[in-house]
């Protein structure tokens, strides 16, 4: 790990933590928002899976392109609630890595199942992502700010996928997008097998 990277991680850890004040769950806790916002961003397995949702939405076309990014945060919130309440869910990290593999392959192969099937696939994986966010929620963070931060970050990652997926309107762009799906599946495989 380079010195610069170590400094960057240390800075993020120090700065994003924020003060633990009495207004837990209330107040303008920008620190809570920062923690929530950075949580999905700092997990590469989360990042690639979220981007894959956006990419796949582009291949599926309307209405999937906007239904999936609406379904995902809602189901993810339910997963987060399960995580906070302590509902047992086995193999969470495996589920997250598997989501990257499956969603990446869906993009690579440009699969176009019916919308309900796509929504169930995406929703099922959203449970795992939400569960991880929910269980790892810092106790000192403002609940509202943290939740809002990680929901918005997730949505922006979907948007990044949708914007990149927009390249698919051109032949070369379509190849680039499908290649990105393949790379996401490979990365997911690396997380799944413990190589990354």
């Amino acid at each position: 790990m380079t010195r610069t990277l170590r400094h960057a991680i240390l800075s993020v850890a120090l700065l994003a933590a924020g003060p633990a004040l009495a207004h837990t769950g209330a107040g303008g806790d920008i620190g809570g928002f920062g923690s929530g916002f950075l949580h999905p961003m700092l997990g590469p397995d989360h990042v690639i899976a979220m981007v894959a949702v956006g990419l796949w939405g582009v291949f599926l076309g309307a209405p999937a392109i906007w239904v999936l990014p609406i379904v995902f945060p809602l189901v993810m919130a339910l997963g987060g609630a399960f995580g906070m309440i302590g509902v047992p869910l086995p193999a969470v990290e495996t589920g997250i890595a598997l989501s990257a593999v499956v969603l990446g392959l869906c993009v690579l192969l440009a699969l176009k199942p019916p919308l309900p099937v796509a929504a169930v696939i995406v929703g099922a994986f959203a449970i795992f992502h939400g569960y991880a966010h929910g269980t790892e929620m810092p106790e000192a963070a403002s609940a509202v700010s943290y939740a809002l931060g990680f929901v918005i970050a997730t949505g922006l990652l979907h948007l990044a996928g949708i914007l990149f997926g927009g390249l698919a309107r051109w032949d070369a762009g379509r190849i680039a997008v499908r290649t990105a799906g393949g790379l996401i599946a490979l990365a997911g495989g690396a997380f799944l097998t413990g190589l990354a």
Binding site: A26, I30, P69, P73, L78, S142, V144, G155
Partner: protein
């Protein structure tokens, strides 16, 4: 780019209390900005405005004045409400307002107006000005009333004027984010309640 990232990181962990953040800016700005710097208030206001805009012009005509009236009532009577209920009330109204928009439902004007009034009431209760002279309190309360109503009017007008399909999608996506945040908040509340 690196400077921007550093600046962003430095700015992220600002102090946690809205009143602390707004100290020294004067009563007018403290009141005006309060609904913007308290996430729960902003969520309730934006959700109510999304609902009114998505429910149509009649809902806006009925809902925006009653939202302002709810705000005024909440600001006037908020000191008598238990502080521990303020944030749950805000998130409950945010959920009530955002869930129909997420689902693509168009509520009747009276129902949309009722939810907007509840959102206004919850924001008013939560946005109590700091204790001070009567003049300071009234100034901050009036500024909050103006600021919160302005936010609601602007957001509702933007939603009402949506014509492109991407704008309709953006409204539902924003509502889904608010709905999801409210679900998470209540899960957190359920697990953190004193036993």
């Amino acid at each position: 780019m690196r400077r921007a990232a550093t600046a962003g990181l430095v700015l992220l962990p600002a102090p946690a209390a809205a009143h602390g953040m707004l100290q020294g800016v004067g009563d007018v700005y403290a009141g005006l900005l309060h609904p913007l710097v308290v996430p729960a208030e902003a969520l309730a206001l934006v959700a109510a405005a999304l609902l009114l805009g998505a429910s149509g012009r009649a809902a806006c005509r009925a809902g925006l004045p009653v939202l302002a009236a709810g705000l005024a009532l909440g600001l006037a009577l908020g000191r008598f409400a238990p502080p521990s209920l303020a944030t749950p009330a805000l998130l409950a109204t945010a959920f009530l307002a955002a869930a129909p928009v997420t689902a693509g439902l168009r509520l009747s004007p009276p129902l949309a107006a009722l939810i907007a009034a509840l959102a206004g009431l919850a924001v008013g209760i939560d946005a109590q000005p700091d204790p001070g002279t009567l003049r300071q309190t009234l100034t901050a309360a009036a500024a909050t009333l103006f600021g919160a109503t302005a936010i609601a009017v602007i957001v509702a007008a933007l939603v009402l004027g949506r014509e492109q399909s991407w704008q309709r999608i953006a409204v539902r996506v924003a509502a889904s984010w608010i709905t999801a945040s409210a679900i998470l908040y209540f899960a957190w509340l359920a697990t953190s309640a004193p036993t």
